[in-house]
């Protein structure tokens, strides 16, 4: 089954691929790897903003991370690479966090679980997840990715 068909089966609709907010490109392919720029969480076209902790709850944070993951897939689709995904290799999760919020892994799972839902075993990836004080445009979460492609 193609990834596009699998997304349809899951009822997952990808967002429009967001334009970079600055001087870079969304995806670079080098050899059999695609490097995807850090993606921000848009839900229904609106950026999820704020810091995890008192300001933003865990459930909303998980949704935000999932939205970052969907945007990674949208960028791959826009680059004509979505059906060439062989393996999600690595996700880097940056979670805007108040100083006492330590549940970054649960937040980043929003993106990680999406990849396994869509790609099965090929969606299982290495990951780092860290807290940061603030992200571009006050986004709640940013996720970048390294993805292996079939030739």
């Amino acid at each position: 089954m193609t990834v596009t068909a699998r997304l349809a089966e899951l009822g997952i609709e990808l967002p429009p691929a967001a334009a970079p907010v600055a001087s870079y490109v969304p995806v670079v392919v080098q050899g059999d790897l695609a490097f995807v720029s850090g993606q921000l969480p848009f839900i229904d076209g609106t950026l999820v903003t704020g810091k995890l902790g008192n300001e933003l709850g865990v459930e909303r944070g998980i949704q935000a991370a999932r939205a970052c993951g969907l945007m990674i897939l949208a960028q791959l689709q826009a680059a004509g690479l979505l059906d060439r995904v062989a393996r999600i290799v690595k996700l880097g999760g940056f979670v805007a966090s108040e100083g006492d919020f330590t549940d970054q892994p649960r937040i980043a799972n929003g993106a990680s679980d999406l990849m396994v839902e869509v790609f099965g075993d090929a969606g299982k990836h290495a990951r780092s997840a860290v807290g940061v004080p603030v992200l571009p445009l006050n986004a709640a979460v940013e996720v970048d990715a390294i993805i292996a492609l079939t030739p």
Copy 2:
């Protein structure tokens, strides 16, 4: 000499490989590279927590970073890859830091020096080291890695 033998010679005992604290896997191999997920610092089974600065001293931070490095090796061992390490390519060091703590490089050396101790010239790597406000489970340090493997 195998890496396993070299560790024995140095008297270094690896910790049990920690289970991921969320939905990802510890190591993904893609081509000749192993991507190791961000590892947290367990010493004698206990996570080293807190922020570098007034709360946590430099020596303890260095020990924590070394513990992250040992956990990277433990994950490689658990994946059957330890004796296939050809080069430590890149370490990413995230140091939980109070706002005026600027000695992240010295902390991250705990992991970097370990790699050179174990692998010699093949342990010399590229690195980034940055301060972060807070890490998963309130860990003091997190280190991820890209490692080249022999076929």
Copy 3:
């Protein structure tokens, strides 16, 4: 035209390659990729320090990010790799930020725009840019890089 000639044409003079501030090396080549360690912003030999926001203005931050980019090129030059650059694949931008500063993309453009200025289309890269509370030596910006090389 060689990169060295292109830099001369642009009137860009590279800084002396800074020695690592700790136990790592500036560049590791693995296959056709060069991994460049996180570089700090030196302008006329002086490190640009402070946090973006009230303490440090946007224009100075952009200059700092450009200085990080120049140092990446200086490290490639010192390693004899500058004229083998095939593509700037990925930049990782870490911007020391006060909690309400959300313009990290504009800051990181200092490095990104430099790459496009020097390498043209081959300088267009994937990127992540995040805020951090503090960087080594109180640097304002740190940028690391993955770069594809010709054989």
